[in-house]
């Protein structure tokens, strides 16, 4: 597709430890188009945040990209270092993290943070930057933006802070936003507001969004497509309605079924036996096979098929009636 913003090809991240090399991300490929929200869902340790960090060059050593390519707007960025990466990060990629306090400088007023970011990355005057800062705060729904522009991060509530972070992420007009668990620290009522805000802004501006979360409900409401990760691999990728209503990978199916929402009215919740393997003990073949009710011999030896063409990295995708 011509309007592909981010393209990840066979990305692998490795961390050398004294007990051997672990691969928190293993051969993951996906694209995100302009104006699209791609949800990346998985349980802790599945590698979903690590892939996002690899894109923005925020892997903390000794973690490093071991293989694969990352393309942003037609240029390869996985080998960029230092100043180039920093420039790219501010200009073309915006970030929203779980804890808004870590993304805001507590010693600078929010207005200063916004104008500074814009002046660094956009060719505009100081006055223009001030004007745009107020407009940005109004756009993310901060009441009395003009008066609050000189306030400091600690003077805002958690939800308001996350709005400021979103304004900050969008002010340099990036083509990609990476939102890593943006609502996990927030209350339900505020979460709904923030998700709606993110959706509206990205649709209006045509920004591509990588929405990393563990919450299936958030994915269902916000994302256009969803990728499901398990033990460092992408096991299923497709339109959100298809993946959630008719999952083809047994893990996705189990994950969906084990949410209380899906089991309402039943005495017991559906249960996937066992737990995700530690990264240094990922089994041979398909990483999910020891927990999979449908596993056959092939699953024990051959890692699942590449997801590039199909929807799932499962040798024996579930068909609709089996999944119900």
């Amino acid at each position: 597709m011509s309007d592909t913003v981010l393209s990840i090809r066979e990305l692998s991240v490795e961390i050398p430890t004294h007990t051997g090399i672990v691969k928190p991300v293993d051969g993951v490929s996906y694209d995100i188009c302009a104006g699209e929200i791609l949800g990346i869902v998985g349980e802790s340790g599945a590698g979903k945040s690590m892939a996002g960090n690899a894109v923005i060059g925020l892997l903390s050593p000794p973690a490093h990209i071991a293989a694969g390519e990352i393309w942003l707007n037609g240029s390869r960025i996985d080998a960029l270092e230092g100043e180039d990466m920093r420039r790219l990060r501010g200009k073309q990629i915006g970030m929203v993290f779980q804890d808004p306090l870590t993304s805001l400088n507590p010693l600078l007023s929010i207005g200063d943070q916004l104008t500074e970011t814009m002046l660094t990355h956009l060719d505009i005057s100081r006055g223009e930057a001030d004007r745009r800062a107020i407009a940005a705060l109004e756009e993310v729904g901060i009441p009395g933006a003009a008066e609050r522009i000189d306030s400091y991060p600690h003077e805002f509530s958690g939800g308001m802070r996350q709005r400021v972070v979103i304004a900050l992420a969008l002010c340099a007009e990036p083509s990609l936003i990476i939102a890593d668990e943006p609502t996990t620290a927030l209350d339900v009522s505020v979460q709904a507001q923030i998700i709606a805000l993110l959706k509206r802004l990205c649709r209006d501006r045509g920004t591509a969004v990588m929405l990393i979360t563990h919450d299936m409900g958030v994915i269902a409401e916000a994302a256009d497509r969803v990728g499901v990760m398990y033990a460092g691999r992408l096991v299923e990728l497709g339109a959100v309605r298809d993946v959630l209503t008719a999952p083809q990978h047994p893990y996705t199916h189990g994950l969906m079924a084990s949410t209380p929402l899906a089991s309402q009215g039943k005495a017991r919740l559906h249960q996937i036996e066992g737990a995700m393997p530690r990264l240094n003990k990922v089994p041979e073949g398909c990483p999910f096979h020891p927990r999979c009710a449908y596993a056959r011999d092939k699953c024990r030896v051959a890692p699942g098929p590449k997801i590039a063409d199909g929807r799932t990295a499962c040798w024996f995708p579930l068909v609709a009636e089996k999944a119900s």
Binding site: E43, S44, G45, A275, P277, R278
Partner: protein, 314 residues
């Protein structure tokens, strides 16, 4: 969230230690290994001084005044005896006095740190867990004490304690007074660190779980919180040991520490500096180098331990 395969039987503490990150980091650090070896050699030779030392320098019967001022590795002009590190004015073998002196230094250092540790941990735990006025009183006392240099505090305590000791017991008591003085000047940092760690631990849910079943505050402090605040204490204890050894040497050098009948490294240095300008350099130099090596290697060990136990530096 991951599953561990079941392991047969429980692991021994040794096995856990050998598999731990700490031991792994230790193996990777030449400084840590070297300083551990040096400390081990020094401590062992101090402990087994009576077995290692060629002479007992404090047994008048074994001394020969004719051997006085013998240079290192050179035979004495009168007796023909040769000494590894030479002798002092009274013919005592410097090597032997160093071994015995190190014994006193290490004993005072270790005992003082243990005393400071017990006092500091107790007061720190209580002020952290109980809070309120108890905490205010303990920690303000600590703050006030911190404003004085610890060597001054030690000298003050030493002077006061000496005043209360009958003259005939003064030499015997000197070592214990020294331990008391150095220990009392050093408890503050233990108390501060333990209080800080206790404040963190007491909010954790395992402490609430223990309160819930009706455990007494004493049992909670001792059995639950104490084991979890000990790792920073270990670091401070190691670094304090180096400082306590130096503090003891300083006091002894100033003449208010170990008596001449039980000389520590500091006393030896004080005695030795009298001969420096008359050419008998070895009487000063060797005890001083020993003190330096001892304090430095203990300190390096403490520094490494602090880095190894600090999760933020990993």
């Amino acid at each position: 969230m991951t599953d561990m395969p079941l392991k047969p039987a429980q692991q021994s503490r040794l096995r856990i230690f050998l598999d731990s990150d700490i031991f792994y980091m230790f193996k990777k650090s030449p400084v840590a290994i070297l300083s551990t070896i040096v400390v081990a050699i020094l401590v062992l030779s101090a402990v087994f001084a009576p077995l290692i030392a060629p002479t007992n320098p404090f047994d008048p019967a074994s001394l020969n005044l004719m051997n006085g001022f013998t240079g290192p590795m050179t035979p004495n002009a009168f007796t023909g005896d040769s000494f590894l590190l030479g002798t002092d004015d009274q013919g005592r073998d410097v090597f032997s006095t160093i071994l015995y002196g190190m014994r006193v230094s290490l004993f005072v250092g270790v005992a003082a740190v243990l005393f400071a540790m017990v006092l500091g941990i107790t007061l720190g735990l209580i002020s952290g867990y109980v809070g309120g006025w108890t905490e205010t009183i303990i920690m303000r006392t600590a703050d006030v004490q911190l404003t004085f240099p610890s060597i001054l505090v030690a000298m003050l305590i030493f002077g006061v304690a000496k005043g209360f000791t009958p003259v005939e017991y003064r030499d015997q008591m000197a070592i214990w007074v020294l331990i008391l003085a150095i220990g009392l000047s050093d408890w503050v940092q233990f108390a501060r660190v333990v209080r800080g760690a206790t404040l963190v631990e007491k909010r954790k849910e395992y402490v609430e779980a223990a309160r819930l079943i009706g455990r007494t505050p004493f049992a909670i402090m001792l059995r639950h919180i104490l084991p979890n605040v000990l790792s920073p204490v270990l670091v401070i204890a190691t670094i304090s040991l180096a400082l306590a050894i130096i503090a003891e040497a300083t006091l002894s050098f100033l003449g208010v520490g170990a008596p001449a009948t039980q000389p520590s490294l500091g006393t030896l240095i004080r005695i030795g500096q009298g001969f420096l300008f008359s050419g008998e350099w070895w009487i000063l130099l060797f005890p001083a180098v020993t003190l330096l090596v001892l304090a430095l290697s203990v300190n390096l060990l403490g520094d490494w331990l602090r880095d190894a136990l600090n999760p933020r530096l990993r």
